[in-house]
Each structure stands twice: as structure tokens, then as C-alpha cells.
């Protein structure tokens, strides 16, 4: 059941990409460049910087609003992927115990700060990627990558990966079902059987790959996957990229929350 559900959710992201909002109407390359700029900015921050990252949350929030993407869905996806980040940062609080910050009389160690920083960065980058696909669609993203100079073979590979992930999972699912129907109790569910099934799946995949290749050759495939898409940069695209890059630059160069805090305390004083 889980696999089926996951599959459906991947499809859901593509479904979102069919909407027609100001964000969806932008050129795929625009969104790709901005998202890459955003991710680079986020990962360029030092390990103990946490407050300085906060202004960058504006980007995913603004884009999700602009593209009418459901926040609940994006948060759920973040949660599913979060164990990776948790494991990466899990030991920081244990290893790095130098107190960096005092909240009242409680000392917060550098480890906790860097742990939180990792989590924040994870949430920011993954949500940016989800929004990119959810507002553009998977194949236009691949195409944009190709147009921006990614080797054609990788672009084609990504396209095929996405096309056949559904076929492959369904095939796997059928095999699992067939096994479950003939295994009783714990018998027939061991690791060895899994090995056989994976091998079987690999063989079937290779057969299919060969048939697909034949089908491509039959229609004149010569090494290049051609797509008809008319996309061009408009002034909106340029403004979108420029605006966000200026904002990323500001957020990177100045610690905005600190400045804001300073201004507020000065006014209060």
C-alpha cells in the first residue's frame, strides 16, 4: 500500500504543475536558476548561523503562495525526508558542548545551534526543490537543465527515469503481491527471496530497456531526444531573477534579524 501511495504523491506534484498561476507561467529556466541561487545561498552560511538564515524562509513561503501550492502537502513531504537531516546532525549536540548562547540561565551549546542550523537549511533547500518541481513539472525542469548546458544524455536519463518509475514500481508491486499470496506466516518472506525478486526485476528491466530502445530506433532515434517547447525569457523573468538575487545577496551580506533587532531596541530605548 505504501508504495502505491508514494507513487500517487509523486503524481500529485506533477498535477500541481498543471495549474496556471503567475509562478507557473514563468519560464522553467527562470525558476531553475532562482532555485539554484537560493540553494547556494543557503548552504554558504557558516555552521553556527541560525538567525541569519531566517529571512530566507521568505522565498519558499512567497513562492508557495504565488504558485498556489498546498502548504500541507509540502510540509508532509519535508517530514518524510527529514530523517536524513536528523541523522546527519544528530551527534552535533553530543560532540560539540561549548556554550555559545545563554537564554536566561540556560546555556545553549554550539552543537545544538549547528544541529538546528542543519535542520533549517534542510527545510529551506528541500522545500525550494519541491516548489520548483510543483510549479514547473518534472520534464520541463529536465529540459531547462538541458538548455542551461547539462549534457543531453543526463537530461534524457532524467526524463526516462521519471517516465518509467511508475512502470517499474507497478511491476515490483505485482511481484510483491504474488509473493505475499503464496507465502504463509514468515515463510517465503526472507532476505534470500528478496534477492531473487530484485534479480528478476533487474532482468525484466533490462528486457524492457531493450524493447524501448528498439521502439525508439523504429521512429528514427539518433541519439538526441527532441522536444517542441516554446519558452523564452520575458521582462517578468528577468525581474523575478534579479529581485530574488538581490534579496539573497542582502540576506547573505547582512544579518537582517540582528539589524532589525537593533533598530527595534533603539526605538524602544
Amino acid at each position: 500500500m505504501d508504495i502505491e501511495r508514494t507513487l500517487f504523491e509523486i503524481g500529485a506534484l506533477d498535477q500541481m504543475a498543471l495549474q496556471d498561476t503567475p509562478l507557473h507561467r514563468l519560464d522553467p529556466r527562470t525558476k531553475l536558476i532562482t532555485a539554484m541561487g537560493f540553494i547556494l545561498t543557503v548552504v554558504s552560511f557558516g555552521r553556527y548561523e541560525l538567525a541569519a538564515l531566517l529571512p530566507l524562509t521568505l522565498y519558499p513561503v512567497a513562492l508557495a503562495a504565488m504558485g498556489d501550492l498546498p502548504a500541507g502537502y509540502l510540509l508532509r513531504k519535508l517530514l518524510i525526508a527529514s530523517p536524513f537531516a536528523l541523522f546527519v546532525g544528530m551527534f552535533n549536540p553530543l560532540l560539540d558542548r561549548t556554550p555559545l548562547l545563554f537564554i536566561g540561565s540556560v546555556a545553549v551549546s554550539g552543537g545544538w545551534i549547528s544541529f538546528l542550523s542543519i535542520l533549517t537549511r534542510f527545510c529551506l533547500t528541500v522545500s525550494a526543490a519541491l516548489i520548483l518541481v510543483g510549479s514547473t513539472g518534472f520534464s520541463p525542469v529536465c529540459m531547462a537543465l538541458g538548455r542551461l548546458g547539462m549534457p543531453r544524455i543526463f537530461a534524457a536519463q532524467l526524463l526516462f527515469l521519471y517516465r518509467y518509475i511508475f512502470v517499474l514500481t507497478e511491476e515490483g508491486l505485482r511481484m510483491v503481491r504474488a509473493r505475499n499470496l503464496r507465502s504463509f506466516g514468515n515463510k517465503g518472506t526472507g532476505v534470500r527471496i528478496y534477492g531473487h525478486m530484485l534479480g528478476q526485476l533487474l532482468l525484466r528491466t533490462m528486457d524492457r530497456a531493450q524493447r524501448i530502445h528498439q521502439a525508439m530506433l523504429c521512429r528514427g532515434f539518433d541519439g538526441e531526444v527532441r522536444l517542441v517547447r516554446h519558452c523564452r525569457f520575458t521582462s517578468t523573468d528577468v525581474a523575478f531573477i534579479a529581485g530574488w538575487f538581490v534579496y539573497f545577496g542582502l540576506a547573505r551580506a547582512f544579518n537582517l534579524p540582528q539589524i532589525l533587532g537593533g533598530v527595534v531596541t533603539r526605538i524602544m530605548a
Binding site: 524492457r208 523504429c218 532515434f221 539518433d222 531526444v225
Partner: protein, 244 residues
């Protein structure tokens, strides 16, 4: 001018593991003929079809499409002439959307974009799939996939259509629509199938393959009336020819 003739002369083919799939097949199919290729499982039908546009290279013998023998240099021309529809539409539909898939062949032929667009529209209209253009192939039903698979081939305007099990896994109504669609295609058709009723509907001529050889070749009605022959080739009369 007879460039829609398909001729196979003493074709032999052995798979890399040594199994001989075709052992001397010969026939000649004229322009506009509609020919069924029937036979037991493993008789060599699919293998034979894969030779007709050079997906497989024979161990011996030759395939001639029109006046040319099929060789490396004539391959592009032959593939444009012979449109091949594979059995599993998932193998045939590999692009992100239906539109991209139908445009794949014409774009590879190097046609200008307006022509490609016109061909895509025409091909989709022929199979009744105008509304499917933007859908990703994995979201189509079995019948829709099959129609689109045909459209991908029609968009290249082939003069010979080769189909492998075109009606398998279709519900009766989709099957009927599909048969009507094929009937409308006036050029040469070569159809491998176990659906003998469809064969009876569409093909005036039938070739029976048995263990890699042509066992019988003649008018469909005569062949399907020969019970002994059918029995020997693991076949039986189509339901519509059976007395109840």
C-alpha cells in the same frame, strides 16, 4: 512502382543463445494487402516482425521493402516506410507527454515545426485522441495507450503498418473501435495476433507460422476452415466460424 511490397526470402534467425527462431521463412506481400501472421506461442511471429524494419538482423536470407533489400544504408528509409506498433504500449510511449511522443518520430525525420504540429494533430484526430495531447502516458487507460501508440506511428505516415498483438488486453468496445481504426488504414497491414476473430474481420490473407517455418499461406477463410491444419498449429476456428 511497387515500393510498398514486403518480401522475405528464406529468412533465418537464431538468438544469441543458439535457439533457432526462424528457419527459412519466405513470403511476398503486395501493396494494400492486409495479412495476418498467426501461430502458436513461440512460433516466431514477434521475431519475424522485428526483422521487417531491421530491429533484428537475419542470420541468413533477406528482407526486401519495396525495391531495396534491407541493409544498413537503407535502414532509415525502411524505418520511415514501415511503422511498427509494439505489443506493450508502455514500451512505445516513452516521452513525458502524449504530444511529445507523437511528435518524436516526425521531429527525428527533421520536419519543420509547423509540419510536425500538423501531423501530431492529424494523427491524434485519426485515433480519436485529441484530448489526450497534454496527458502523461502513465495516466492513460489501456485503450487510450493503444490508440496513442498507433498515433505515434501514423504521425510518420508509414506506407506499411506492422502490429504485434494489437487487440490484447482491450475491452470489447475498445477492441471494436480499434478494429475499425485499422480498417480505415488503406496501406499494407501486417498483424501478428491470437485474436482470430479480429483476423477474420481485417485480413483477407493469413500466414501460419509453425516452429519458425511458414506452414500455410492463403485466404483467411480457407485456412480457418481447415480444422486439421488449425489443430496441428495449436489454433482453432474463430468463434464466429464455429457452429454452436
Amino acid at each position: 512502382m511497387s515500393h510498398h511490397i514486403v518480401e522475405v526470402r528464406d529468412l533465418r534467425y537464431a538468438y544469441p543463445d543458439g535457439t533457432e527462431a526462424l528457419s527459412g521463412v519466405s513470403f511476398r506481400i503486395h501493396h494494400g494487402e492486409s495479412v495476418a501472421l498467426v501461430g502458436a506461442n513461440g512460433a516466431g511471429k514477434s521475431t519475424l516482425l522485428l526483422h521487417l524494419n531491421g530491429c533484428l538482423v537475419p542470420s541468413a536470407g533477406e528482407v526486401r521493402i519495396g525495391d531495396f533489400p534491407l541493409t544498413r544504408s537503407t535502414l532509415p528509409e525502411v524505418r520511415r516506410t514501415v511503422g511498427m506498433v509494439f505489443q506493450d504500449p508502455d514500451d512505445q510511449l516513452f516521452m513525458p507527454t502524449v504530444h511529445d511522443d507523437v511528435a518524436f518520430g516526425p521531429l527525428n525525420l527533421g520536419l519543420p515545426e509547423e509540419d510536425v504540429e500538423a501531423r501530431v494533430q492529424a494523427a491524434l484526430a485519426t485515433v480519436g485522441g485529441e484530448g489526450l495531447a497534454k496527458r502523461p502516458p502513465y495516466k492513460l487507460s489501456g485503450g487510450e495507450k493503444r490508440s496513442v501508440a498507433i498515433a505515434t506511428v501514423l504521425a510518420m505516415s508509414p506506407s506499411i503498418l506492422v502490429l504485434d498483438e494489437p487487440t490484447s488486453n482491450l475491452d470489447p468496445r475498445s477492441r471494436r473501435q480499434f478494429i475499425n481504426l485499422l480498417r480505415a488504414f488503406e496501406h499494407t497491414k501486417i498483424i501478428a495476433s491470437h485474436d482470430l476473430d479480429m483476423v477474420l474481420d481485417l485480413c483477407e490473407r493469413t500466414i501460419i507460422l509453425q516452429r519458425g517455418k511458414v506452414r500455410a499461406d492463403g485466404p483467411t477463410r480457407d485456412i480457418f476452415a481447415d480444422d486439421r491444419l488449425l489443430e496441428e498449429c495449436h489454433l482453432e476456428r474463430p468463434l464466429s466460424m464455429q457452429a454452436r
